[in-house]
């Protein structure tokens, strides 16, 4: 804010806005979106906009609202060194003016702070930290205060999660948001929980992570949080076994839909890989794993064909092969080691033959893929009736399939002709 305002007016206005925001939070328990709307000149009305369970601030008020809230907030924190020296001075001045009974209005915020009772102080700190994290979710100081207050049982779990979601609606890729969420959920999981509650928490958290991932491309923090949730719930003794199955199924469905629409979002694919690894643990033999993964390889194949030139798809394919092939090879060597003498029964022969067949099958599939990508795209590159965007993606496809062939050789020593 460039204009030189009178400090009094500044102070009053900021306090009024804070008041307005608090009222909105008191009135409306189901706010689901926060934003800052660019508005150049300030009119006489309040910069707080509240429609349809959405909250917004007009951009002109943000700079001084933030610095005012920050000042007031840091002064309320006990035994903390405030970086700017003048805060300390102001504090001293403030307390003298209270003693003298004459209140200098430009030290007003110190005065307001010192007049509060302990309960009021906590409430004010919570309100101020709420505004601070809405405006700047990277301020760890404010989040940490809320953590302390949560431990002292000043807030409700639900309300906190709600606030975090609100912050994430404007800044979906803030790491602090997800760290705090994780902290809250960990905290609540340590307490005794009943079955319904577990399911409720899980579904809601998954939705929150999904929303953030949708809002920002390759949202690492959101996907990492989701992975953490998955592993915590699947590995935790608090979670009943039948619910673990439900989790895996619903997450698989969710991820199926996701990859169809987000073909170059590697964070989303990484989550899918974790999910597939978890699902493979449920399969009792290598056959089941083989089926699960060949199905996934088929899906990946159709995406590679449909969307040429997207590297994330090829990396996903690498993961699938790198997971599956060593498993088959291990099975093979185990069978060999167990039988130093020539195999006697038919059944043993069959198992051995079966694994060998599967590896050959996979190799054949990769060969076909690389070959067909190369032929299809080579003809597109030479085609005069094709424009340069198609040519670009074709060239990328050729590059990726050649890289893939090279990788297959390095990994499994499969020789694939790629010229």
């Amino acid at each position: 804010m460039g204009d030189a305002r009178d400090p009094d007016e500044f102070f009053d206005l900021a306090e009024k806005i804070i008041q307005n925001i608090n009222t909105v939070f008191e009135k409306d328990g189901s706010l689901d979106e926060f934003d800052i709307v660019p508005v150049e000149s300030q009119s006489n009305r309040s910069p707080v906009i509240h429609v349809n369970h959405k909250l917004a601030l007009e951009s002109w008020c943000v700079p001084f609202l933030y610095s005012h809230s920050f000042k007031c907030f840091t002064q309320l924190l006990p035994n903390r060194k405030v970086s700017a020296g003048n805060h300390k001075n102001q504090h001293r001045n403030g307390s003298t003016s209270v003693r003298n009974g004459s209140i200098g209005s430009h030290e007003g915020h110190t005065f307001v702070n010192s007049r509060l009772t302990e309960g009021d102080r906590t409430e004010r700190k919570l309100n101020l930290s709420r505004i601070l994290i809405l405006l700047n979710p990277d301020l760890t100081l404010a989040w940490n205060y809320r953590r302390e207050a949560f431990i002292q049982c000043c807030m409700q779990f639900q309300h906190e999660l709600h606030l975090v979601s609100l912050v994430a609606s404007r800044k979906p890729k803030s790491s602090e948001v997800f760290m705090y969420r994780k902290w809250l959920v960990k905290h609540i999981l340590n307490e005794d929980l009943k079955g319904d509650n577990i399911e409720q928490i899980f579904t809601r958290e998954m939705q929150a992570a999904g929303k953030a991932a949708e809002a920002y491309f390759s949202n690492y923090h959101a996907w990492d949080y989701r992975r953490w949730l998955l592993e915590t719930f699947l590995g935790g003794s608090f979670c009943p076994d039948e619910f673990k199955l439900t989790i895996l199924n619903s997450e698989k469905n969710c991820s199926d839909n996701w990859v169809e629409r987000h073909i170059s979002d590697h964070s989303g694919f990484h989550y899918r890989q974790k999910l597939l690894s978890q699902m493979s643990l449920l399969e009792c033999n290598v056959n089941g794993v083989f089926q699960l993964f060949t199905k996934e390889l088929e899906n990946n194949l159709s995406l590679v064909m449909r969307f040429p030139g997207h590297e994330a798809l090829w990396y996903h394919r690498r993961f699938l092969l790198q997971f599956l092939v060593p498993k088959l090879q291990m099975e093979l060597t185990e069978n060999l080691n167990n039988h130093h003498q020539p195999m006697e029964t038919n059944w043993e022969c069959e198992v051995w033959q079966c694994c060998e067949d599967k590896i050959q099958y996979l190799k054949k599939k990769e060969e076909d893929l690389v070959k067909s990508i190369l032929t299809v795209n080579a003809s597109l590159v030479d085609d005069a009736s094709v424009n340069f965007i198609t040519k670009d993606s074709s060239n990328l496809s050729i590059l990726y399939s050649q890289k893939h062939a090279k990788w297959l050789f390095m990994m499994f020593e499969w020789i694939i002709d790629n010229n």
Binding site: E33, D35, V37, P38, V39, E40, I49, N52, K54, A56, S59, S169, R170, E214, A215, F217, E260, R261, H262, I263, S264, D265, R306, F307, H310, A384, S385, V386, N387, F388, I389, T390
Partner: protein, 197 residues
């Protein structure tokens, strides 16, 4: 992300001037307070592109992570599709042809306007259905005759403008954009340009 944001149909009058006939939008992925401005900008850009495309011509313009595809039929009926850059552009152009054919078959487009086409829902249905490009695969196969070389490609919106024209001026002059949208545009400009001095 593979996504369609807006599909709209325009009429280019022979005497000049371009009229929006029908627009349909899917803006759920934008924030509530931005949706209005985003929609205004998509319409503004679409109209601008229609005005700068030869009758019978096709153009595709990339702007950040968005793509705008335009098709103006020789008789002046035009369609514009705004999609994500990952949406297959061949499918997009096929959709434009289909949208124009549909609209011409269902309405008397030469006299129509947004009012008379209020109940024309085919564009909304199309926008929703082809969010998944798998749906459009069959469509692409039927219309294999699309000649890609005739599509003129641009890497930014500015590349479409005529000599001496500036996007900032066009935005400032536009009547279709509210003051709030213009403010959004200015802020976005400032934010995007902070790295290049």
């Amino acid at each position: 992300m593979v996504k369609l944001y807006a599909l709209s149909v325009f009429r280019r009058a022979p005497e000049g001037g371009t009229v929006l006939l029908k627009g349909s939008y899917d803006l759920q992925s934008f924030g509530f307070f931005q949706r209005g401005s985003v929609q205004e900008f998509m319409t503004f850009t679409s109209q601008m592109l229609v005005e700068r495309t030869q009758p019978g011509g096709r153009q595709s313009v990339k702007e950040q992570e968005y793509m705008c595809h335009v098709f103006v039929r020789a008789d002046g009926l035009a369609a514009v599709l705004v999609s994500d850059a990952e949406y297959p552009h061949r499918v997009s152009h096929t959709l434009l042809t289909k949208a124009i054919e549909d609209c011409a078959a269902a309405n008397d487009w030469k006299t129509a306007n947004t009012e008379t086409l209020r109940n024309y829902k085919a564009l909304d249905v199309m926008l929703a259905r082809y969010q998944n490009p798998k749906e459009a695969d069959a469509l692409t196969k039927i219309q294999a005759e699309l000649d890609e070389t005739k599509i003129i490609m641009h890497n930014t919106i500015e590349a479409v403008l005529e000599r001496g024209e500036k996007l900032d001026d066009l935005v400032a002059k536009s009547e279709g954009l509210s003051s709030q949208s213009k403010m959004f545009y200015k802020t976005a400009r400032k934010t995007n340009s902070c790295c290049n001095f």
